[in-house]
């Protein structure tokens, strides 16, 4: 199963993600979840970014919080709402919200 998981908060969801079984896992950072893509603690990026190579962050939610693409970890793809629709229908079979 190809599973896309929306992460909407900055609290660490790693333990939940570890329990999800997926052939392909996508993590889609929205709302305060985008801080996983932009914030380093003690020089280290969020461990969520190590879970999969398919990590996305919503551009509008990055900009609303006063940041831009240059603030985003290089492993994260910045996407629009239109891109999200394509991810939902074309890249993942199931989608979940954390």
């Amino acid at each position: 199963m190809k599973l896309g998981v929306f992460v909407s908060d900055f609290k660490l969801a790693a333990d939940t993600l570890d329990r999800l079984k997926a052939d392909k896992l996508g993590i889609i950072l929205v709302q305060n979840g985008i801080y996983h893509a932009t914030t380093k603690e003690n020089g280290k990026a969020s461990s969520l970014l190590d879970k999969t190579s398919n990590v996305y962050a919503l551009s509008e939610d990055i900009q609303i919080r006063g940041m831009g693409d240059s603030d985003v970890d290089k492993r994260v793809k910045v996407v629009t709402y239109s891109d999200l629709v394509d991810l939902i229908f074309n890249e993942y079979d199931k989608i979940a919200w954390l």
Binding site: S8, Q31, Y81, L84, F89
Partner: protein
């Protein structure tokens, strides 16, 4: 083209998850997909007509009506809505009122389902 059903449980107008649900719905319908939205819990507070639109709110009655005009089906949980003191005659025109079976039927007929929140 596919069908996306969004279950939106948290928040009133101005809530982040609520705004996200409506903006995702708009993006999907603009790309030709069929979209259904189910409001439950506190999200049902948004279906009362003539609420003041604060300038900082990105969504509201006009936004809901625009989605309905584009073909998005929006339904509010009647039990949750009346529990919050809102009666059907006070509701925004075009918003459907129904029970959980509406949501379940839409889920059954959808290609993708995104449920946001819920306690």
């Amino acid at each position: 083209m596919g069908t996306l059903t969004i279950g939106c449980f948290p928040g009133l107008v101005g809530n982040m998850a609520y705004d996200f649900a409506l903006k995702l719905a708009e993006a999907a319908v603009n790309k030709g997909h069929k979209v259904n939205i189910w409001f439950s819990g506190n999200a049902t507070g948004s279906v009362k007509a003539h609420q003041k639109h604060l300038k900082d709110y990105s969504t509201g009655e006009k936004y809901l009506k625009a989605l309905i005009e584009k073909g998005v089906e929006i339904c509010t949980c009647e039990a949750c809505t009346v529990a919050r003191g809102i009666q059907k005659p006070e509701g925004i025109e075009g918003v459907q009122w129904n029970a959980m079976h509406w949501y379940l039927a839409k889920i059954y007929g959808s290609d993708r389902v995104l449920q946001i929140g819920g306690e």
